[in-house]
């Protein structure tokens, strides 16, 4: 029996209010932004169907909103990304705001529109058993391990408030450990001028989420080594990360640990009013739904396996890379002289589409025919092309070029 993702009641509400023909709501929420930008225009496919005017549902009063803190039992980045996606697509947050806390085994997570090859040394990651993942929201690349806590704040679109969420974190840090943290213009949380958290968000209809990381005790050595790009020249229009100096909270206060951080941020979230930064103390906490452990398996969340296999597929992680060009210098030995050539490979959807050689004096690009064309771009295949070219002598190359000119 096919398992369609069930519509939650708030999606039903929107569908009924807009009337007319609306296609699958889940896929229409295509916007993703890293700094609260306006939603990009709708895709062409939807423009064919007359899109009904979206009516914003009336704001739910503060007293009717109850909060929960969900703690994921899984440490697999693909499962957690799938859980985040499932909640975003299926949950009704209109009367129930949720904070999801999760931590992953060592991995590098890049933003939706990023190029993994410019952000990290992909082949070395594979060697070291560090997973590479691509999330659904925009922004830059981050390194995760179990010393890093991820917080995702879920709410309906009209209740999205990034400053509120970040303040919850800074307040929790102060209340628990008297750590003074500030929020800078890029919406990072900094402690003593060094970044301890990065932010990304996804705004859709009817739901939205804002997630951020908190570096408690991540392995800084691995972090530095993983976020180093492969040695080659990349020309790409993908979103580039803005590298910033980072710090672990444990460097500031030795007693900080991820379990305590979970508890501190969770309680701060529960004790604060839903729509304003007012602390309600224990009486406010008592009115909420509290903490819940979440087991993100098919049994508890039907449809999550499909989401997970999508996140872990090559087509998503590598295949969604925007088109880019790689240039590598080649030294071709000749009888009388060495020729310095530039190998240029154009990669589209992760596959090597056009491979050519650029001559040192001219701008001309001579196409190279190789069986490796159309194959996925990775270090092994690139070295294959380089190796094949190196076997060719300089005179042959000159002859071939002059002959074709």
């Amino acid at each position: 029996m096919s398992r369609l993702l069930r519509r939650n009641s708030s999606q039903l509400r929107l569908l009924l209010s807009s009337g007319g023909q609306v296609t699958r709501l889940a896929s229409s929420s295509s916007s993703s932004s890293s700094s609260g930008e306006v939603e990009p225009p709708t895709s062409t496919a939807q423009q064919e169907i007359r899109k009904p005017k979206r009516q914003t549902p009336p704001l739910v009063p503060d007293s009717e909103i109850k909060k929960s803190v969900f703690i994921s039992q899984s440490s697999d980045v693909f499962t957690n990304l799938a859980l985040e996606d499932w909640l975003y697509k299926n949950f009704d947050f209109s009367h129930h705001h949720v904070l999801l806390l999760w931590a992953n085994d060592p991995c590098v997570v890049i933003g939706r529109h990023q190029n993994p090859f410019t952000e990290a040394n992909v082949s070395r990651l594979v060697e070291r058993g560090i997973t590479l993942a691509r999330r659904n929201s925009g922004g830059g690349a981050v390194y995760h391990d179990l010393g890093n806590l991820n917080c995702t704040f879920f709410s309906p679109r009209e209740r999205y408030d990034r400053k509120y969420n970040l303040n919850i974190v800074t307040r929790a840090l102060f209340r628990e450990w008297a750590i003074k943290a500030e929020i800078n213009d890029r919406d990072d949380i900094v402690v003593m001028d060094k970044k301890i958290s990065g932010t990304a968000a996804k705004l859709g209809h009817p739901n939205s989420y804002h997630h951020c990381t908190i570096l408690a005790s991540a392995n800084k050595l691995h972090l530095g080594e993983s976020l180093v790009k492969e040695p080659a020249n990349y020309i790409s229009r993908a979103t580039a990360s803005v590298p910033s100096p980072i710090r672990n909270l444990v460097d500031v206060n030795r007693t900080v640990s991820v379990p305590q951080l979970r508890s501190a941020v969770g309680y701060e979230y529960l004790r604060t009013a839903a729509t304003s930064l007012e602390d309600g103390g224990n009486t406010q906490t008592m009115k909420q739904r509290g903490f819940q452990l979440i087991n993100p398996t098919e049994k508890w969340f039907p449809g999550i396996e499909e989401l997970r296999s999508n996140y872990s597929s090559w087509d998503w992680v590598i295949g969604k890379t925007p088109k880019f060009t790689v240039q590598k210098d080649l030294d071709v030995k000749g009888d009388d002289q060495d020729m310095k050539l530039k190998l240029s490979v154009e990669v589209e959807a992760g596959l090597m589409k056009e491979i050519g050689i650029q001559l040192p004096q001219s701008d001309q690009l001579v196409p190279v025919v190789t069986p490796l064309q159309g194959k996925p771009y990775n270090e092994e295949n690139l070295n294959g092309i380089v190796g094949a070219l190196k076997l060719v002598s300089a005179s042959n190359v000159k002859q071939a070029i002059n002959g074709s000119a």
């Binding site: 069930r6 009641s9 509290g290 452990l293 087991n295 969340f301």
Partner: protein, 445 residues
């Protein structure tokens, strides 16, 4: 039209309800225009075909009677109110991890993170303030009455996650009434059912993530009332504790491959007797049945069929009420269940089935005594169609074999073409999971 075509057409007509139901089931409740049209068409189809039943949202006044309000004792003291509820949430370290699959779940092995507790102390004026706390052990005096004289009663209800994601409970007012009647019989204090249901709703909303987001799982609710008076006298309890725990459930019975159960019918074991408390859900009724169940298991049978009297009346199956579907002397189809004579627990599933089938009006529904000789006679004449148990835990449980006085009787429950028990199960679960809007299914959130 050739004979072959006629036969095929007859088959299609006979099974069209199944086809329609299958299609309806595989479309989730999306408010898509085409689905609405399909459902409207399906309802029209069902109205057209004479063989099908309809569920209407209105329950006929003739067959409805709200349970009588309970009369509290004069010196009971004051009642608790849901508005007085205080909550102590479990910290992240106190939470229980959720299991990976159904196999580990069983029935009643795993409990959720929170519980509801309400104390009663006559010396403190009556019912105290209700509180929700993390699931923890109870502490009581070794002379507490519940430990000596089984001064205890309990209830069984379920919370279902509907197709729209909202959680519903089924006819909670009936459970509250039943609980209060049992309290009166055990010398325990009575309470306001409405207030308790509100406290329960708060408890379930806190632990709502223990109900999976599928439409086949449920949360079992176990309210319990115990007498904790620390004195050995056999008298009413001046102190009591009303508490509730929740348990996520998979399937209740370990059944054979077909899903039907086999029963042991041994007249030497009696579960209830006239003038006793067979009609009250008290713990003391169940302890003596454990050994009998063990004997049934030893004989390779799954449940016990409780018989009573010289004529070997069928009273209950395991912990469920029993129903029989047969053809009577006039050639009419009859659904029968034993009457509430004092030996039978007034099950809520039982009551729901009776009301629903009477409303359908497709076959005769009666409450009358069933005896084993009657069962054997009907079986011999091929007039016994179905035999099944009905209870909250599994809705309906079909029976395919009874071991009676050393003989195996095979009941053709699973061999019927359009089994009534399947229809009943589907109708009830449709209401419970919110696929059909019905006043019996109360949304709590």
């Amino acid at each position: 039209m050739t004979t072959k075509m006629a036969i095929n057409a007859k088959d299609i007509f006979r099974n069209q309800h199944r086809l329609i139901r299958f299609i309806a089931q595989s479309i989730r409740l999306c408010s898509n225009q085409s689905l609405k049209a399909a459902q409207a068409a399906q309802q029209q189809q069902q109205q057209k075909s004479a063989a099908d039943f309809q569920i209407t949202a209105s329950v006929d006044a003739q067959y409805t009677s709200a349970p009588e309000p309970v009369k509290h004792d004069k010196d009971l003291g004051h009642q608790f109110r849901a508005s007085q509820l205080s909550v102590r949430l479990a910290a992240p370290e106190q939470l229980q991890p959720k299991p990976d699959n159904d196999g580990e779940l069983g029935f009643g092995r795993l409990f959720t993170d929170h519980m509801l507790k309400i104390y009663y102390h006559k010396s403190l004026g009556g019912w105290q303030r209700p509180e929700i706390t993390p699931l923890e052990n109870l502490v009581m005096h070794p002379a507490a009455k519940v430990l000596h004289y089984a001064v205890e009663l309990f209830e069984g209800m379920k919370a279902y996650r509907g197709v729209d994601g909202k959680i519903r409970i089924f006819r909670p007012d009936m459970n509250m009434n039943r609980m209060n009647l049992a309290a009166q019989r055990s010398g325990l204090p009575t309470f306001e059912g409405k207030e308790f249901v509100q406290c329960l709703s708060r408890l379930i909303s806190i632990d709502s993530e223990w109900v999976p987001h599928t439409d086949t799982a449920s949360l079992y609710i176990r309210p319990t009332l115990i007498g904790i008076d620390p004195t050995l006298g056999v008298a009413s309890s001046d102190s009591a504790l009303l508490y509730t725990i929740l348990s996520p459930v998979g399937s209740y019975f370990k059944t054979g491959s077909s899903g039907a159960v086999s029963l042991l019918a041994d007249p030497s074991y009696v579960r209830a007797w006239p003038g006793g408390v067979g009609n009250r859900k008290m713990g003391s009724n169940y302890a003596p049945t454990i050994n009998v169940q063990k004997e049934a298991a030893a004989r390779g049978l799954q449940q016990v069929l409780w018989l009573y009297g010289e004529d070997h009346q069928l009273t209950e199956v395991g912990t469920m009420n029993i129903f029989m579907f047969y053809v009577n002397d006039q050639g009419e189809q009859v659904l029968v269940t034993p009457p509430l004579s004092g030996l039978i627990l007034p099950g809520i599933t039982r009551d729901s089935i009776l009301r629903m089938t009477r409303q359908w009006g497709k076959f005769k529904v009666s409450e009358a005594t069933i005896t084993m000789p009657m069962v054997c006679e009907l079986l011999n004449q091929g007039r016994l169609l179905e035999l099944f148990g009905a209870g909250t835990a599994c809705v309906v449980s079909p029976v395919n074999r009874i071991n009676y006085l050393g003989q195996d009787l095979y009941i053709p429950t699973m061999e019927q073409e359009k089994p009534v028990h399947e229809l009943i199960r589907e109708s009830l679960t449709d209401i419970q999971y919110g696929r059909v809007d019905h006043p019996w299914s109360v949304v709590i959130d």
